[in-house]
Amino acid sequence: MYAHRNLILMICIFFMTTAFSQSTEKKFKKRALFWIENEFSPSTLSKKEQIKELDWFIKASRPYRGTTIHVISERIDTHIYEAKVLAKAFKEITGISVIHETTGEDDVVRKIETQFKKGIYIYDAYINDSDLIGTHFRSQRVRPLSVFMKKEGRRVTLPTLDLDDFIGLKFTTGPDGILYQLPDQQFANLYWYRADWFARVDLKRKFRDLYGYELNIPVNWSAYEDIAEFFTIHVGSIDGQQVYGHMDYGYQGPSLGWRFSDAWLSMAGAGDKGLPNGTPVDEWGIRVENCRPVGASVERGGAANGPAAVYALTKFIEWLKKYAPPGSNKLNFTQSGALSKKGNIAQQIFWYTAFTSALTQKGLPIVYPDGTPKWRVAPSPHGAYWQKGMKLGYQDAGSWTFLKSTPLEKVKPAWLYAQFVVSKTVSLKKTIVGLTPIRKSDLNSKVMSDMSPRLGGLVEFYRSNARNYWTPTGTNVPDYPLMSPGWWKTMPKAITGELSPQEAMDELADFLDDKLLFLEKEGKIACAPKLNKKRKRSYWLYKAGSPKARLINEKPKGRTISFEDAIGVYK
């Protein structure tokens, strides 16, 4: 009798649990539909496909309902949208709470460094720039995604993730062919200019009279410099407002370091040919032989203090002082980006497209009343040492990164969130908000075609092959967190005049060599550095490739082309 009563009780519990579970499932499905109808539109998927994709998330997240995950990313529009809107949607659809921190990029780097070097578990996932790919494949502290997706993460890997649709996987794959990170957002640093001013007949005539060629998009730094001088010195003011032919920033801090390490030396032409990064010498000036970094200084076969690097720094300082608005040397990356809104800048050689959304707001002096911008972006001009086949700019690929020191049971729900924010259900809407595209399907959508006139050339750039010439830091840098401070610690010494450009680049090369030597002695990483012996600079400078000997003429004749031709080069 007693056993009979227990059986009835168990059956009741079973049915009550099932009913509760079904009602919870219904609630999640209802919320999924709500989000599809009210937020995730447009999408490259049909509504039916979106429902199916979100159904998968509802089922896959069952074991993790009620858990909370902590993730961290850089503070840009795309990630703010994720933190404010997508984290909330994810909670309502899956029952998993997400604390999505948005902070300075250097904070992200310091925290990931702390977790993997001090062994302290801090976050369940990082949206970490792929600039650390050289660190990750060597340290083996990151969960290799291509392995994770097939093994322990198989059941939580989205069947419709469609990796082939991502445009940035080559940036997040190690030389070992393993995918270590999954891109979440991408933006490039491009040439930015006031298309309305460049089209003015009076200014075009004046420029031609002074320089002997057309005012148009500069192909080389000589033309950029001429245009900078033209607007700051010869034009001076437009419609009663003081205007400047150049904009940059020089405040000592991590963002100044990126201004150089991201691509500046490669744009000058300091490195070797090769994509996504120069081989054997990359844009940091680090030479690699058989996967091992062998030196950054010219004396060891690197290019960090070679003539091209010194030329790059010299031009940076010269333009900042001569042609940028007064006080630019006191600004950081964010402040400088905001200043372009004022409408007194004619061109900017190193402009991050992450600011596109902020610079297309209606009511700004750089936007027409119909919402189309008065400015455009185009492929960046290159320096005197640059040759065809070399990287020509930087592309940031903020990518989902999971550390081995994070418990697997926290990685799994975090991986679900990561896939949710890059899923096709969500991705096109996120791209429209943040303008940091990651999927071919989004880029090729009609929606992006329709938006194109309002985005100043961003869509044209990303649809062209040019996106393969704008690349992140590559695998030559064996420990990004350890080595990157060298840039912001030494460059300001040349900006203030404490050191000459050659002395500052010598100091940087010494810093980088010291760190490589430290890693060599430590011997803890795969493909660890093995420094070349020092030789006379002439030994390396007169060999083919990088480091390159000083050019007799670092200012060849300026050359400009039309926007269509500039993009056409990369078709």
Binding site: K91, E101, T114, K118, G119
Partner: protein, 239 residues
């Protein structure tokens, strides 16, 4: 200003003038009893002992501590939230510990917060000098700064504001002292808490201390110290 001489070890290979002055403020459970105990104090104690560095601890308000570390050589502020904005202003030794910032309301508040931004345009009370201020402002939120956290707890009680952003472990201690019953609504941020030392401090000292600290993490010293205080923390957090 209360002055407590902590350790009297001299690391002769560095310099005979290797003394450090550490400016800090009461932040239970990290810095308690006028700087005589607490998680962070015990960690520092061990760190200086192993590094053989002589240091003195001075209690001073947070904003002033930061200022002192900026202007005087051989000075550090502690425990400071390391951030990109501050990165180039100091030499960093850390993290001494990882803290979590949370949004608190009065105990009986019914507001539901899924993501930080659910706070909307309501004012959030924050400690002056805390890097949470920049963090919250960058997310488009409104803050009101106070010179100390006791004042923030009191303002919450008198409903001068609805939300208080503070350290997730310290706030329950401080609220308890002022007799305010609070509820943690959401943790919104983790911070590396470190010694923010004058940027011209001898790099050898910085390296020695960072190396010792790494060893303290790896040999379990940091965890042991944290665990020692966990019971007290749990008691206050559950109140």
């Amino acid at each position: 200003m209360l002055k407590i001489v902590m350790f009297l070890f001299l690391f002769s290979s560095i310099s005979s003038r290797a003394d450090l002055t550490i400016y800090t403020s009461e932040l239970p459970p990290y810095v308690m009893n006028n700087g005589e105990s607490g998680i962070a104090v015990d960690i520092l104690n061990e760190l200086f002992l192993r590094s053989k560095i002589k240091a003195e601890l001075l209690l001073t308000p947070n904003a002033r501590a930061i200022h002192q570390a900026q202007i005087s050589l051989s000075s550090c502020a502690f425990p400071i939230q390391r951030s990109q904005k501050r990165e180039s202003e100091f030499s960093w030794i850390g993290p001494i510990f990882i803290s979590q910032s949370a949004i608190f309301t009065l105990e009986n508040s019914k507001v539901d917060i899924t993501v930080l931004d659910d706070v909307g345009q309501a004012v959030i009370g924050v400690l002056l000098g805390s890097s949470d201020i920049t963090y919250l402002k960058n997310r488009g939120l409104q803050v009101e700064e106070a010179h100390n956290e006791i004042l923030n707890a009191r303002k919450l009680r008198s409903k001068r504001f609805k939300y208080w952003a503070s350290d997730s472990l310290a706030a329950p201690f401080l609220a308890g002292r002022t007799g305010v019953s609070i509820r943690k609504k959401i943790i919104f941020r983790k911070s590396l808490r470190a010694l923010a030392c004058n940027k011209n401090l001898d790099p050898k000292i910085v390296k020695v201390m960072n190396d010792v600290l790494t060893r303290m993490y790896k040999d379990g010293t940091i965890e042991r110290i944290r665990n020692k205080y966990l019971k007290t923390v749990a008691y206050h957090s559950n109140k």
